[in-house]
Homo-oligomer: 147 residues x 2
DNA sequence: CTTTTTGCAAAGCGTTTGCATTGAA
DNA sequence: TTCAATGCAAACGCTTTGCAAAAAG
């Protein structure tokens, strides 16, 4: 294949679908492919606009259901937001988020220390922790420099 | 005053409003009072249902605008959610959240270590951090014990 | 009195649902 | 051939807006 490099996880898409008893449709493949290369934690609508270029007849709710399905089977995450549209995250490994309160962007960062926080006894005793994330709110570089 | 104890922050409500050039209306007072004693990070609608008992004629959008105003002037926070309705938090001091993926409840906890996380250089250099929070996803005790 | 706030109604987003058709396996 | 997935349209839920009436300062 020429041009755009293939994402390693895309190669396994058929397997992933089979393991979850999902059919490998062209729409699903396209949505997953675009999600994998996205960096903006897209909403359903943002992804709809992207995939529509390739599939002019695709419907919004197919994109919506597909991305929810991806979250259910664990190949995408839903990022924390402060109300409003869901935002999807192709990175399901441990990582952390910066939320720019000015432009609304969510920026990923990785940090080993944050991946291994001690869970307080108070929490451990009353809550079965499945995942954790550190979330910073603030002002991103772009918003800080371009007034 | 008898019956229900007054929250210390409620006593200062008139001052807070004056400082922000807001009028002290009965509706605002009631919404703030109910928010202060809430423990469930209520949505606008949840708060609307509560305040409606005292003000049967209050409108949804008054509650909505009022709670957004409280967030703007810093006497309430908007909690992180995974899409959908905003949830408001009367605790504007450092604290952290547990999200039960089963019942959707958000549970507060406090932890000094988490309040003082080292901010990675990579973050510090590219982002002006205003606040931070540790968010756990998991299963709360109630959901773990009552199937 | 003046200016904000309220209540109302409608409009605006985002999401979900039911159903007939299509298509992957 | 079968059953899941898609596309469509309508319904639903949450939020926002414009405006006249009401109320706070």
């Amino acid at each position: 294949m020429q041009g755009q490099a293939k994402h390693p996880r895309l190669e396994r898409f058929a397997e992933i679908c089979k393991a979850s008893h999902l059919k490998v449709t062209p729409q699903r493949m396209a949505i997953y492919r675009e999600l994998l290369i996205s960096t903006e934690h897209p909403t359903v609508d943002a992804m709809f606009q992207i995939v529509k270029k390739e599939f002019p007849n695709i419907s919004y709710d197919t994109v919506s259901r597909t991305m929810l399905t991806f979250a259910q089977i664990g190949i995408a995450d839903i990022a924390e937001v402060y109300g409003g549209a869901k935002r999807f995250d192709p990175d399901v490994a441990d990582h952390h988020h910066l939320h720019c309160v000015s432009c609304g962007n969510i920026i990923d960062f990785h940090n080993d220390q944050y991946n291994n926080l001690d869970i307080p006894d108070e929490v451990r005793q009353n809550f079965r922790v499945l995942s954790s994330r550190v979330v910073f709110k603030g002002i991103c570089e772009k918003c800080a420099t371009t007034p």
